[in-house]
């Protein structure tokens, strides 16, 4: 009989000890906030374009965390959708972009400065403060900061903003992917003007 009691007591003591350890750990290593939002946000392209219907990438990340579909980011392209699928363990989705043009091509806004009237509307619209200028003075885009989000095009009263693809420079140029099996690498270049 006493053996049973001893066993029960021992088990209870163990339970108490482990419970205390678990309780302490849950307090000590408490995770602040929702880490999944951070992870989603880091996968989004941060163009802050609002094409997903949210006022920026982070709000969309929060919406995805709360169950919204994760295929509404045209600038991120299918790659971002796939990455989010992997991260979230959800069903695979195809990009919901209404067959918009190729998202993989990086773009920047370009202001035709001759036509700019200096209304500052685009400055107010830019989500990343990438347009400089003052009222009644010409504006221009800081190309390095522009995310090509398109948001400045609509407010322009004189339609002097174009979204142009970024041309590769010597620094950003990269080799093409080889054509693949059955293809010759495109290396033969005709010599002319000799």
């Amino acid at each position: 009989m006493s053996a049973v009691l001893i066993a029960v007591a021992a088990l209870l003591a163990l339970a108490a000890v482990f419970g205390a350890i678990l309780g302490f750990a849950s307090e000590k290593f408490k995770v602040e906030g929702d880490p999944i939002v951070e992870q989603i946000d880091s996968l989004l392209p941060q163009t802050q374009c609002g094409q997903c219907g949210h006022p920026g990438c982070r709000p969309y990340a929060e919406a995805i965390a709360e169950g919204e579909e994760h295929n509404r980011c045209p600038p991120g392209g299918q790659d971002t959708v796939d990455a989010l699928t992997d991260l979230l363990g959800r069903d695979e989705l195809t990009l919901d972009d209404d067959g918009a043009e190729d998202a993989a091509v990086a773009k920047v806004a370009y202001i035709r400065e001759d036509e700019c009237i200096g209304c500052t509307k685009c400055i107010q619209a830019c989500p990343v403060d990438a347009i400089v200028g003052a009222a009644k003075l010409m504006h221009t885009v800081i190309v390095d900061e522009c995310t090509g989000c398109d948001l400045c095009v609509e407010p322009c009263p004189v339609d002097c903003i174009d979204i142009v693809p970024v041309k590769p420079t010597l620094q950003t140029w990269g080799w093409d992917r080889p054509a693949g099996i059955g293809q010759r690498p495109d290396s033969r270049i005709e010599v002319v003007n000799l």
């Binding site: 403060d129 140029w173 992917r177 080889p178 054509a179 099996i181 270049i189 010599v191 003007n193």
Partner: protein
């Protein structure tokens, strides 16, 4: 023991993993001595021939430069200078195709050579040991020396050691393992002494424990020459077995020192500095001879040239010039390669210049460097892994690169690939492995750059969001502060000012009453009247009242900043009113008694009583005013009440005046002594009444002005007439005020100045309204001229309509149409102008709101103005709409159809016509003549119909001046 013995006798050479043995092909070019290169007509010098920041140009187009003159200085730490390779003129600084696999352009300095090859003054350092290492590093930096082996890393960085750095081994790379290339081989054979001097300079700069020269055993003559040159010095020669790519930096270090440079590390991490033999030669030329890096030895080889060999070419020489110099046969060239066959790249154009890193040009025939065969599937043979000198798994890298699985590729150390091409060389499936790796590397770099950019964008977005929120909060706080200040101001100023004025008036009246009472008492006393004592008492009481009133004024004055609640003032006034009315009652009683006693002073007493009544009334009115002005009362009441109040007051004042005049007359008739006194009192009362009247007018003028503010949504039917009325009222008030002031001045009244001031404000007001009227007239001339709403036009053309109404419709004379057209135009411009004014005012208001220093009152004023302008614009638009409607109605009445129907008819006729035409065309070939005829006539009829419809529409539109 034995091993130690052997090691000491024969220097140990280590081995690295992998490597291949491609055909060497060096015999093509290593047989002849180094020959001078061509002097081309134009030299093209890219600003970024080296790794790091592009150099900064020091010359401008048009400048003449001499051989060896610095034309671009290093920009930043990792950069190298550029010098003019010969004398000539700078013809351009701009984009030119450069030596890059992409075939893209970069900024170059273009020099048109003059053929004189004129040197700039230069001198070397005969004994470099006299100079400090720092000076020599500077010399090297400004001589523009960059790694000549192929990478082009600025040499000054590599030879500039920190205090704590210690170099174990200086390794001179003389391996030249790539097939075809023999530039270093020939250099060593012919200029070994100079190379050794360069190495000595490097030794002086780096102070290494050992200096090792690694040379492949396929260059016996070079080995011999170097051995001869460095006899007796502390330079060790390591002859390494021929194997590609033993010339790779990490591979060579492993070969000659046995040290392995780890992944992601630099040779400096293991205490090794590696320099190319060509660099050593360039350092010698720069330090000892004072010649900057303006030429280099380049191998020209391949079946496409008749004189392959090594040429000392000027930096910037176009490849095509060298090819011509070497006797090129253009028809034989299949591929033009810059660099070796393993790591070089195919040139897009022969016009690209040769730069500091160009060690070889291969003009290969199609047989020599055949087109690569098509890629086949990987058979997982593993040959690539066997030959990889970097110990990677090329096969795995290939899979991941092919599938864009960059993360996994990086896990397999993609970035450690030296792109030597050994794997692709051995691949039985002819997979262009290196291209896959290069592609993947580019993608990884791009991804990193994108991530960086995304992080930056995120930061900027968040910063902007925070700023906007802060701005919003600040704006809100400011708004709240303004409202608060406004409220306080209202409490502090609005109520007390009204009340202090009222109180002052009250105290004035009270003291006046007291004085009159004293006088009356004195008169009664002199006449020995029975009620003299009574009157005195009365006078005393009045004095008390006056004192009280004065105290109240003082109180109000001192309490004003503390914002005395208006209720207090009202209570005080109430008390005063009570006092005054009781005094009046007592005076009446005394007068009655005096009359009953047949007393002489009865009339005087009566007058006194009247006066007291007037003052009591005044106090009452003031009380009412105070009540209305109290903050508890709604602003509308405050504005609506004064008028009626004033009216009442005026009525009272004038009745008091009349009564006073009557009593005065009576007193005169009775020959009373105080008749003159009464008369003056009456005059005073008259003045007071006049003032009240003026005030009333003023209030009336102000009241309508306040109306549009109160109800801006209900636009006045005709702002112009309204304005005119206002102007009339205000100017009338002004005139009356002037008159009153004049009268007061003539009478020597004390409040003349006050009246004058009031008149002035009225005048300002009048001017303001006049200006407003002018504005309105200018803004809406059409509104003023045209009857705004066509009330006299019928809505539908009814048969029973009176003749007068139908007449203008049945016969729309061109004059009326023209008039309407004019009016339409006028209205349009009027509306546009009004709208523009409104927009501008609105923008000004917004600007003012953004600014801090604009006070609330000004803002309110501006808001009012904006609203007014908006009204104006709305009115103009309404008028315009009405006119257009009118015109449309006219058309309807005139043609029996409305505009839409007309348009529809015209369109239908046109489409029918088009259909028929089509049909006709179709039938023209197939049908008989009869059918054609019938169709033709049908077509003609339709055409006529369409014509008519078009005409009707056009006419209607033109008549009404509705050009669309």
């Amino acid at each position: 023991m034995i091993r130690t013995f052997f090691r000491s006798r024969t220097p140990k050479v280590f081995d690295f993993h992998g490597g291949i043995h491609p055909p060497e092909m060096k015999h093509l070019s290593n047989g002849t001595e180094i020959a001078p290169g061509p002097l081309p007509a134009q030299l093209i010098l890219p600003l970024n021939m080296h790794i790091g920041a592009p150099a900064k140009p020091l010359v401008e187009p048009g400048d003449r430069v001499l051989k060896g003159q610095m034309i671009a200085e290093p920009a930043g730490a990792v950069s190298a200078a550029i010098h003019a390779p010969t004398s000539g003129t700078v013809s351009a600084i701009g984009p030119r195709p450069i030596q890059h696999p992409s075939g893209m352009d970069a900024i170059c300095i273009v020099i048109d050579t003059d053929g004189r090859d004129e040197w700039i003054a230069h001198s070397g350092i005969s004994d470099y040991t006299e100079r400090s290492p720092g000076e020599l590093v500077d010399t090297i930096r400004y001589a523009g020396i960059a790694g000549m082996g192929g990478a082009g890393f600025p040499t000054s960085i590599k030879v500039n050691l920190g205090d704590h750095q210690r170099v174990e081994e200086l390794v001179i790379n003389a391996v030249e393992c790539e097939p075809y290339i023999t530039a270093d081989d020939r250099l060593m054979r012919e200029r070994a002494d100079e190379i050794i001097t360069g190495i000595h300079i490097l030794q002086y700069l780096l102070n290494p424990r050992r200096t090792l020269i690694g040379i492949e055993d396929n260059k016996p003559e070079a080995i011999k020459a170097i051995k001869r040159a460095c006899k007796g010095c502390d330079i060790e020669i390591r002859v390494v077995p021929t194997k590609y790519p033993s010339g790779g930096e990490k591979q060579l270090i492993q070969l000659v020192t046995g040290k392995e440079v780890k992944s992601g590390q630099l040779p400096a991490h293991v205490g090794v500095v590696c320099q190319n033999v060509g660099t050593a030669y360039a350092i010698k030329r720069a330090v000892i001879n004072g010649e900057p890096l303006i030429q280099r030895v380049t191998t020209l080889t391949g079946d496409g040239v008749s004189q392959p060999g090594n040429y000392e070419v000027l930096i910037g020489t176009p490849v095509s010039d060298l090819l011509h110099h070497g006797g090129v046969d253009a028809g034989k060239i299949g591929r033009l390669v810059m660099g070796g066959p393993m790591m070089g790249f195919t040139l897009h154009s022969p016009t690209v210049p040769m730069v500091k890193t160009t060690n070889c040009i291969i003009a290969a025939s199609p047989e020599e460097l055949p087109e690569p065969p098509p890629e086949q599937p990987c058979i997982r043979c593993g040959s690539c892994a066997e030959v990889c000198p970097a110990n990677l798994l090329p096969q795995q890298l290939y899979w991941h690169a092919k599938n864009d699985d960059l993360e996994k590729a990086q896990h397999h150390n993609l970035m450690d690939c030296i792109e030597c091409g050994a794997c692709a060389y051995v691949c039985p499936s002819h997979i262009p492995l290196v291209q896959y790796y290069r592609y993947a590397k580019g993608a990884v770099r791009q991804q990193a750059a994108d991530q960086l950019k995304a992080d930056k964008a995120r930061q900027r977005f968040e910063a902007r969001q925070a700023r906007i929120d802060a701005e919003k909060a600040e704006k809100e706080a400011r708004r709240q502060a303004r409202l608060e200040a406004n409220r306080k101001k209202k409490e502090a100023s609005a109520a007390p000012t009204v009340d202090t004025a009222a109180l002052k008036q009250a105290s004035l009246e009270a003291s006046k009453a007291y004085k009159a009472a004293v006088k009356a008492a004195k008169a009664a006393d002199a006449e020995g009247a029975a009620n003299a004592a009574e009157l005195k008492a009365e006078a005393d009481r009045l004095k008390e009242i006056a004192d009280k009133a004065k105290a109240a004024v003082r109180d109000a004055g001192s309490a004003a900043p503390a914002a005395v609640p208006a209720e207090d003032v009202v209570a005080k006034l109430k008390k005063q009113v009570g006092d005054a009315s009781s005094a009046y009652k007592a005076a009446v009683k005394a007068a009655k008694e005096a009359e009953a006693n047949g007393d002489d002073s009865a009339a005087a007493l009566r007058a006194q009583a009247d006066e007291l009544k007037a003052s009591a009334d005044k106090l009452k009115a003031e009380l009412r005013d105070a009540k209305a002005g109290a903050p508890a009362a709604a602003p509308t009441a405050a504005q609506a009440d004064p008028v009626s109040d004033l009216k009442k007051q005026v009525g009272e004042a004038s009745s008091a005046y009349k009564a006073a005049v009557k009593t005065a007359k009576e007193a005169e008739e009775n020959g009373a002594d105080n008749a003159a006194e009464l008369r003056s009192k009456a005059d005073e009362l008259k003045a007071a009444a006049d003032q009240l009247k003026a005030e009333l007018r003023d209030a009336k003028a102000n009241a309508p002005a306040a109306v549009p503010v109160q109800a801006p949504t209900a636009p006045p039917a005709d702002p112009l007439t309204e304005l005119k009325k206002k102007v009339g009222e205000v100017s009338a008030a002004y005139k009356a005020a002037v008159k009153a002031a004049k009268e007061a001045e003539e009478n020597g009244a004390g409040n003349a100045a006050e009246l004058r001031a009031e008149a002035d404000t009225l005048k300002a007001d009048a001017d303001h309204w006049k200006a407003e009227l002018r504005d309105a007239k200018a803004a809406a001339p059409a509104v003023a001229k045209a009857p705004p709403v066509p009330t006299d036009q019928p809505k539908m053309p009814e048969a029973s309509a009176p003749q007068a109404l139908t007449q203008p419709l049945t016969a729309v004379d061109p004059e009326a149409a023209a008039k309407r057209q004019k009016r339409l135009k006028g209205l349009k411009t009027a509306y546009n102008m009004a709208h523009k004014q409104y927009k501008e005012a609105h923008a000004a208001l917004e600007r003012a709101e953004r600014k801090e220093e604009v006070s609330a009152d000004e803002l309110i004023e501006m808001q009012r103005k904006v609203d007014k302008l908006k009204n104006k614009a709305d009115v103009a638009r309404d008028a315009l709409d009405a006119l257009i409607e009118e015109a449309k109605a006219d058309i309807r009445a005139h043609t029996g159809k409305d505009l839409k129907t007309l348009k529809l008819e015209a369109a239908r006729a046109e489409s029918a016509l088009a259909d028929k035409k089509l049909e006709l065309d179709k039938l023209a070939s197939s049908s008989g003549e009869d059918a054609l005829e019938a169709l033709n006539s049908e077509l003609k009829a339709l055409e006529a119909e369409a014509q008519i419809a078009r005409k009707a529409l056009k006419q209607a539109l033109e008549e009404q001046g509705l050009v669309e």
